[in-house]
């Protein structure tokens, strides 16, 4: 029940809650943990996901259309926590669903559900005063995003206010798969390390074992999102947990990826 990375490199798995349905999200998350995921990022679907590429946009749209609500996300979190005590659990969301639910209530309920941290895509450190105070009160870890475009003074603020880990965005852009990692990621992680002793996870576009191995050379963990969400999109609900588990095992074996 913490944001530790037991594996080398660690793996963070993003799932859009409610795609294909909330029960499947729970089963997929448990299968992912058993296959070696250290942290699950449980995504709250939002109608206007402006930081996301087409894959996560489609997943959000499907989940919103099924009326997946914040209470559903928190219930799935609680069930995952009950089933797998040791895994890290982060609620990943845009800000508006939190505001509508009520900030204090959200923080309390996320804590009660067993979440370790929260990542709000469209909340920068400077606007986070009240949020940070509430997170502190509840004992939840705020995880902030750091971007290749962030100047050093912003990285310092991001590193200072993050807990658990710092999320380094691998490239300038939105979520979605990519062919190869750019040089942006390594230099960003190097800059973050100047300000922080926290583990650094690299995400956006990490989609195969080569990427994960490469990230492992300079960061503590890789975040895999769109690649898994797309795999779920192509699977049936029944087959999705096993398919995701197989994929995650392959992510740690560069040579096995060739036969995937």
């Amino acid at each position: 029940m913490s944001l530790d990375f037991r594996h080398k490199p660690g793996l963070v798995v993003y799932l859009t809650t409610g795609d294909p349905d909330v029960e499947s999200t729970r089963e997929i998350a448990i299968a992912a943990i058993d296959a070696g995921a250290d942290v699950i990022e449980l995504g709250v679907p939002f109608s206007d996901p402006l930081a996301d590429g087409p894959v996560i946009q489609r997943a959000s749209e499907r989940a919103v259309a099924r009326h997946t609500r914040m209470p559903d996300v928190l219930r799935v979190a609680k069930e995952i926590r009950a089933a797998r005590v040791q895994a890290g659990l982060v609620i990943f969301t845009y800000l508006n669903p939190i505001l509508r639910y009520g900030l204090s209530k959200f923080v309390d309920d996320a804590k009660a559900a067993g979440a370790d941290g929260v990542l709000v895509t469209d909340l920068i450190v400077e606007e986070g005063g009240e949020y940070l105070a509430e997170m502190e009160r509840a004992g939840l870890a705020p995880v902030f995003l750091a971007a290749p475009t962030s100047p050093d003074e912003r990285l310092e603020a991001i590193a200072t206010h993050s807990k658990g880990f710092v999320y380094a965005i691998s490239r300038v852009g939105i979520t979605g798969k990519q062919q190869s990692l750019t040089a942006d990621a390594e230099s960003l992680v190097g800059r973050i390390r100047r300000w922080s002793k926290l583990p650094v996870a690299v995400g956006f576009g990490i989609s195969n074992a080569e990427h994960v191995a490469r990230v492992g050379e300079f960061a503590d963990a890789a975040v895999v999102g769109s690649a898994i969400v797309e795999l779920i999109e192509r699977s049936t609900p029944e087959a999705a947990p096993a398919a995701v588990a197989r994929f995650i095992k392959c992510l740690r074996q560069p040579q096995a990826a060739l036969t995937l």
């Binding site: 009326h67 669903p97 909340l123 290749p148 912003r154």
Partner: protein
């Protein structure tokens, strides 16, 4: 009211805040560009060379100052206040949008950004942006919802003629909100080379302040013109409110003149249920969308609601943050006019004054028609006629069976 997340410092003292509204709620990747834009804008504002170039273009290229026209026949017909029309519809490209497009275009050049992206709803901002890009020799990509591309086809063709690439957006409601999200995704991806020329008083700081400043000329001229013609200030200024740029431009110089009523007109669409209109102050709740904290039409889960208006330019789920503050403080009043009243206003203005208003602007005309009779003959109403209606002829012809 929903709980809102406030920064740790007192909000009023922070730049980009209007009361509790505004701020900067964006993915971290965009922050460097927003800070650069804010910095460059602060440098350009007092720069005489920049202002001279902008003033020159507004005058020689766009056609400022625009007339403040006394609508004699409309006044007689409505039988109440004297009605003046601020003729932004006479500007080059046909709407107020060119004021802001020229300002930001020059700013982009100063920053050395050679690629411009923009969203558009009615297509007027897209046309203004494409025009400025042609003028300044900049690459131009415009995002527009598929629904809007269909209903404002003339403007799509104009943008293409001007050399812009128009990219249709098929996500969500396929209207302005979705075009903004797609433009923000493009900006996030190409932020090192690209300026996002946002078209209304919306989005993250510094946009709401900067866009408002580029439209302040509307109320500055209005004030001077009405003093020349009538020797006094108007009793009310009326403007339609989509994102809120023409309205804030028309209101701003009157904010301290407490006796001047400021009336914003939202789109009442075809009904009062969520999804049937775009009247953010009738059912909207404070929240965060596309970079700013303001009133938003949304469901109880915080999902953004669908909206409807006959006018693409008012068909948006949120509203500029400065309007949210003016609403809460009571300094400005916000009402709505529906699709049907808007059509009546189009016909009325066309047949009494020989002026074909944009459907957006016709919402303000409709409100003027509703209240004119409640005023006395020496009272003065000024309607900001934000644009002309050529782009809407397809819709108008269908609705009126011309």
């Amino acid at each position: 009211m929903a709980s809102v997340i406030l920064p740790s410092a007192p909000s009023e003292s922070r730049p980009g805040r209007f009361g509790i509204y505004g701020g900067r709620y964006v993915p971290e990747t965009l922050m460097a560009a927003l800070l650069e834009l804010e910095h460059e804008y602060e440098l350009a504002k007092p720069d005489a060379v920049f202002q001279q170039e902008l003033d020159g273009l507004l005058r020689e290229f766009a056609g400022r100052p625009t007339p403040l026209y006394f609508a004699k026949r409309l006044t007689e017909e409505l039988g109440g206040a004297k009605i003046y029309l601020k003729r932004e519809d006479l500007l080059h490209t046909g709407a107020h949008k060119i004021n802001n497009a020229l300002g930001q275009g020059l700013l982009a050049k100063r920053m050395g950004k050679k690629r411009i992206i923009a969203e558009t709803g009615a297509g007027q901002h897209g046309v203004a942006t494409a025009t400025v890009c042609a003028l300044l020799g900049l690459e131009c990509v415009i995002y527009m919802g598929d629904v809007d591309m269909e209903r404002q086809e003339l403007n799509v063709l104009r943008m293409r003629l001007l050399g812009a690439e128009v990219r249709g957006v098929s996500a969500g409601s396929k209207t302005l909100k979705d075009a903004i999200s797609e433009a923000m995704r493009d900006w996030t991806t190409n932020v090192r080379t690209t300026h996002y020329l946002l078209g209304s008083a919306l989005g993250a700081h510094p946009y709401p302040t900067m866009v408002r400043d580029f439209h302040r000329c509307i109320s500055r001229e209005m004030k001077q013109q009405i003093l020349e013609k009538e020797g006094r200030l108007p009793d009310a200024v009326i403007a339609c409110v989509g994102g809120g740029s023409n309205a804030i431009g028309a209101f701003y110089e009157f904010l301290q003149d407490r006796d001047v009523r400021l009336i914003g007109v939202e789109a009442g669409g075809r009904g009062t249920e969520l999804g049937q209109h775009a009247a953010r102050f009738q059912g909207g709740v404070p929240g965060v969308l596309q970079g700013t904290l303001s009133y938003i039409l949304q469901d109880e889960d915080g999902q953004i609601a669908q909206t409807h208006s006959v006018s693409a330019g008012l068909d948006y789920a949120s509203i500029g943050p400065e309007h949210a503050a003016l609403h809460d403080s009571g300094r400005a009043e916000y009402v709505s006019q529906d699709d049907a009243a808007t059509m009546d206003a189009v016909v009325k203005l066309a047949r009494t004054e020989g002026i074909l208003p944009a459907l957006e602007s016709a919402h303000a005309v409709a409100e003027c028609m509703r209240i004119a009779g409640t005023f006395k003959p020496h009272d003065i109403l000024v309607v900001n006629l934000s644009g002309r209606g050529d782009k809407d002829m397809g819709i108008i012809a269908r609705e009126l069976k011309l």
